[in-house]
């Protein structure tokens, strides 16, 4: 028998409910799913990382078109249900009536918009769905854009940190005396405030918003106390309200939310409600863990099984990269409660556990949240902590005498210990799924248990569990395929290219069983690099498999024009070069001429057709491509060194120029930036480069593995060299090892972390024979790499790239 099931709202709760329903019985219902958003179910929690640019929308989709098709769901996305007719048993959307036998309301919440003047101005956004995120990202792209975030709770702070990360000036207005007052005590709120202020976010507590100001769009936010903050974007994150309007209009019982019983039934037995719009036992919920439990119960109810919703306690984490914060339970002070507090001001750690009669009631952790799950577990189980009272606050390993080795600690956790808070998955469920279903990867665990599939903050724990369960056979690296075109990982592909002597991309795809005919935009550039790096002088460099920048040797800009950066070895230039650059700027009406962070000059906004002519002029003045676009050698920054500086110990400028002349043109897995400083004062910032040299009286200290982009990391010392020659040999050998082992797009610091610096030192420092061989392989490959790509193109190479095939503009005008 099939019945018509209509679901209103394609959100997190309904998505989970449909999964349970179809897992149990795919044929029972003929499902129609309405969603006001023009897209299917996705992981709303992860909008914060999407806003921060750490994830893409693609990554957070939970149900794609294939899934709906496979389950036969009739999707009505982009359609808002406007009315439920309970007599006729139909719902209305866009004037069309759809009949139901059973109806599920899962409409979530509506953001609460402060009822102040100006709240409807363009530029005022909530933070609820992907459209909000897109609008915020767009607003952040304006130069010097300013944002005011109203609300210093979880949502507001995640938005503020993400927008700040995108370069906006951000002010957070918060009504209460400290941030996240529902989850944090004042001390932790203070630490959080300090951390966010350290990132340049301005926090204004006890702020009463009076009005949003502006004429055509927002211009500022005014507070009751007279403060005015200028704003191009106002984010309202002041709370949410259950979306109950449909139910109210239909005469279904509504309190704060739509009232449901233990089985998720509303006052109309044919209608269920779940998610944030539902009220159970006088409580509405705003975190996914209980909503997922509701989803399970609702599915069972629909299937005619008995099921009962019993709320569990929930813990909160703030998803701001670099901030560790955990809170659970009740942490208010009271007469009959005791608390244990640990503060470590130096490292910014604060831990507080609230206890009543030897049982944990609540906990707040800041800075070090490793033990969050353990405290939470003790709390939920009501464990008597009398025995370990004195050491409790130091955490699990200390208090239970458990091993400090994380794997052993994982093994020691009880089977019921909760690993994934969002989905309520305990350790036992994961380990038994791993063994019984033969799971081998994080993705497998996510698919079969849901653990780590929502907010992802337990990913580390799940990985440890995989390691503890599978031992050495769990190798997270080996099973990450390069892209959907193959099952093979980067390392395996490289190994086979060498072992089978594969010298072209088609050969590699054929021999390695590629699943697509000609790859994709992920694997082709990687394969091309592996070819060029493995077979210098033999494999052909395939331009069509290169990202546009490396195909036309200039950087594409957001408007489709290009930037041109000529090489200035070691950051040195001459009057003649500057004159030639100035002439080019005049002749081609270059809009922006900028000194880059890499000690050279960028000409921005050049039309693609003009590139060869620009290069011809620069070539004439003796300049070549600076490869500012390359996954290859970029720059060697230098300081003035012993030639001029009163502290200089060696000729850092000279060495930098020598290195750049020796290494330019080389292709590497990711970009490669070097610097040479003349003394430990380090004016060339060598200790945050991929490879850095610090000159000292006794010679040259060679560093590697620094980063100062998406991640910031100081370098590690590789070794000491006595002469320039020795330094050069070591640097070239190190680069060659990286060229041979690095995965495409993996910067040196990531490669070093993966293979271990000991193994790098063993090759490049400890074994002079190996070092020499690496050096010689580098020198050999340079024979083919040191060709100025600009000169080649000035002489006609790839001419088709730079000219239109035909021009019909005149013809149009004539008609």
């Amino acid at each position: 028998m099939t019945g018509k099931l209509v679901v209103i709202g394609a959100g997190m709760a309904s998505g989970r409910m449909l999964e349970h329903l179809f897992e149990a019985d795919t044929r029972r219902f003929d499902v129609t799913l309405f969603g006001a958003e023009p897209r299917g179910n996705y992981n709303r929690i992860m909008l914060s990382p999407v806003l921060a640019g750490e994830k893409r929308y693609d990554d957070i989709v939970t149900h794609d078109a294939d899934w709906y098709a496979a389950q036969g769901v009739n999707c009505r996305f982009g359609q808002t249900v406007t009315k439920i007719d309970r007599q006729a048993k139909t719902v209305f959307a866009g004037g069309v009536e759809t009949p139901y036998d059973r109806l599920v309301i899962a409409t979530g919440s509506a953001p609460f918009i402060l009822p102040v003047p100006g709240k409807d101005l363009a530029g005022v956004r909530a933070f609820r769905d992907l459209d909000d995120v897109d609008a915020m990202v767009a607003a952040s792209e304006k130069p010097d854009a300013k944002a005011v975030v109203i609300g210093g709770g979880l949502l507001g702070l995640e938005a503020a940190a993400a927008l700040r990360g995108r370069g906006m000036d951000v002010v957070v207005l918060h009504l209460a005396g400290h941030l996240m007052e529902r989850q944090l005590d004042p001390a932790a709120g203070y630490l959080l405030q300090r951390e966010l202020e350290g990132r340049g976010i301005r926090i204004h507590c006890k702020a009463h918003t009076r009005a949003v100001l502006g004429t055509d769009g927002v211009e500022a936010v005014a507070l009751e106390d007279g403060t005015v903050y200028p704003a191009d974007l106002v984010v309202m994150a002041a709370g949410i309200r259950p979306e109950t309007r449909l139910a109210t209009d239909a005469g279904i019982e509504v309190g704060r939310g739509i009232v449901v019983d233990d089985a998720m039934r509303t006052s109309d037995a044919d209608i269920l409600a779940l998610g944030e719009c539902a009220e159970h036992n006088k409580t509405v919920y705003g975190l996914v863990a209980p909503l997922y439990d509701m989803a399970k119960v609702a599915a069972q109810t629909l299937l005619g099984q008995d099921a009962v919703f019993r709320p569990v306690q929930t813990a909160t984490k703030l998803k701001v990269t670099g901030v560790s914060l955990y809170s659970a339970g009740d942490f208010a002070e009271a007469e009959d409660r005791e608390e244990i507090v640990l503060r470590d001001a130096a490292s910014g750690v604060y831990k507080r556990v609230i206890i009543k009669e030897n049982r944990i009631l609540g906990t707040v952790l800041y800075g070090d949240t490793e033990d969050g799950n353990w405290f939470f577990d003790l709390l939920k189980r009501g464990t008597d902590i009398g025995q370990m009272r004195d050491t409790l606050i130091y955490g699990q390993s200390f208090s239970t005498g458990a091993p400090t080795d994380p794997l052993a600690a994982m093994a020691a956790l009880p089977e019921e210990a909760e690993i994934c808070g969002c989905n309520g998955v305990c350790k036992g469920a994961i380990t038994s799924a791993i063994s019984s279903k033969g799971l081998t990867s994080l993705d497998d665990v996510r698919a079969h248990t849901k653990a780590s599939a929502s907010c992802g903050s337990c990913t580390g724990l799940v990985e440890k569990l995989l390691m503890a369960t599978l031992g050495d056979s769990y190798n997270p690296a080996a099973i990450q395929p390069m892209c959907p075109c193959t099952e093979l990982g980067h390392d395996e592909v490289r190994r086979l290219i060498v072992a089978k002597g594969l010298k072209s991309i088609p050969a590699a795809m054929q021999e390695l069983g590629w699943k697509t005919s000609c790859g994709c935009a992920k694997c082709r550039p990687a394969l091309n690099y592996y070819m060029v790096a493995t077979w210098p002088g033999e494999a052909e460099d395939d331009g069509q498999s290169r990202f546009i920048n490396e195909r036309v040797h200039a950087n594409i800009q957001k408007d489709g024009t290009y930037s041109v950066v000529p090489r200035m070895f070691g950051g040195l230039t001459t009057a003649a070069e500057l004159r030639a650059i100035a002439d080019v700027a005049d002749k081609f009406e270059v809009k922006t001429v900028k000194v880059t962070g890499g000690q050279r000059i960028d000409l921005l906004g050049i039309k693609k057709e003009d590139l060869p002519a620009v290069w011809a002029d620069l070539n004439k003045a003796g300049m070549m491509s600076g490869a500012a676009y390359a996954k290859g050698l970029r720059t060697v920054k230098t300081c003035v060194g012993s030639d001029w500086c009163r502290f200089g110990t060696q000729d850092s400028t000279g060495l930098g120029v020598r290195i750049e002349k020796f290494m330019w043109g080389s292709w590497t897995p990711a970009k490669l930036k070097l610097a040479v400083s003349g003394c430990p004062r380090n004016c060339a910032e060598a200790t945050c480069k991929d490879i850095g040299v610090i000159c000292v009286d006794s010679g040259y200290e060679i560093h590697f593995g620094g980063a100062a982009g998406l991640d910031i990391k100081g370098t590690e010392v590789l070794c000491h060299a006595r002469s320039e020659d020795e330094a050069l040999e070591i640097i070239a050998a190190l680069t060659q090892l990286y060229r041979e082992q690095g995965r495409y797009l993996e910067r040196i610091y990531k490669w070093a972390k993966r293979v271990g610096s000991d193994s790098i030192k063993a090759n490049v420092v400890a074994d002079p024979g190996k070092r020499r061989q690496l050096y010689e392989r580098f020198v050999y490959s340079q024979k083919f790499a040191q060709v100025d790509p600009w000169e080649e193109r000035v002489n006609g190479k790839d001419a088709h790239e730079f000219a239109a095939m035909a021009d019909f503009q005149m013809m149009q005008a004539a008609e």
Partner: protein, 111 residues
């Protein structure tokens, strides 16, 4: 009715590559796949205007150079989770001559 205009030769375009033609109201990108199939679409990504002719061509799809949206050259539609599409135009291959439907050029200027 149909009026076909020659815009160039097949070999003007590299395999797995693209060239553009200029029209009064914008650029049209002409693609050639590894199997010598040809397609014409607007050279303007619906996301943020990226020049699709500059993307990497794989199968009968292209990846936008600016933020990696993937489009079907056949339908002009964005693939995967991204939503949007670009206009497609009819082409014919006569021997090695590529022809475009002149109407698509005029329709464009009328639009």
């Amino acid at each position: 009715m149909n009026d076909w205009i020659e815009i160039g030769k097949l070999d003007d375009i590299p395999r797995r590559g693209a060239r553009c033609i200029q029209t009064g109201s914008g650029r049209i990108a002409i693609f050639r796949t590894a199997e010598d199939r040809i397609f014409a679409i607007d050279d303007r990504c619906p996301h943020k205007g990226g020049p699709l002719s500059q993307g990497i061509v794989h199968g009968s799809q292209v990846t936008c150079p600016l933020h990696n949206w993937v489009f079907s050259l056949d339908t002009g539609l964005a693939q995967g989770a991204d939503e949007g599409g670009v206009r497609t135009y009819s082409l014919q291959l006569h021997g090695d001559r590529i022809l475009i439907d002149a109407q698509s050029l005029t329709a464009l200027s009328a639009a």
